[in-house]
Symmetry: C2
Subunit: 103 residues, 2 copies
Amino acid sequence: MTFANVGTIGAHPGKRDEIVAILTRLNPELMNAGCLLYEVGTNDDAPDTVFVMELWESADAHQASLQLTSVKDAIAEASPLLSGDMGGHQFTVAGSPLTNPPN
Amino acid sequence: MTFANVGTIGAHPGKRDEIVAILTRLNPELMNAGCLLYEVGTNDDAPDTVFVMELWESADAHQASLQLTSVKDAIAEASPLLSGDMGGHQFTVAGSPLTNPPN
């Protein structure tokens, strides 16, 4: 079942866009790991927050991706930029009004 | 610029799946209103919550969609099922590691 992860990532002041640059770098490993969608963005009303929205083929695919070298490297690279404030939700996709039945 | 909306919708106990059924009903109007993605789901760790994840061609397209008859009808139909607990975030998409540069 398609697995969704949405999250907020707190940045040290002024470091938000550096995190965005790391997270949006083209990553072919993700494509091969069952990642269906991975959008990264910002909202100037929350200037020290990076927003992510992800879809994966399964919760297992998402979990396994955290062990990919490219993902570990990105986490290590971003780590000094992070405030430690993290939020988010995970859910199993039930369907979509665009593509019902579920894709 | 692509606009993202992620949200949590609180349900009265036992009514979650009825809300999911309303929100996942095929809606051609959304397709024509600039909606790029609209995923609805659940997480049994939060049994009275419906999760949504949306992408729109623009913030204006999202805002305008709230005036569509089909959307107003769905909101009216779901309204008695809602607890009133609503949460979420909105952001502008900066890019994706799957499709950099931004799609």
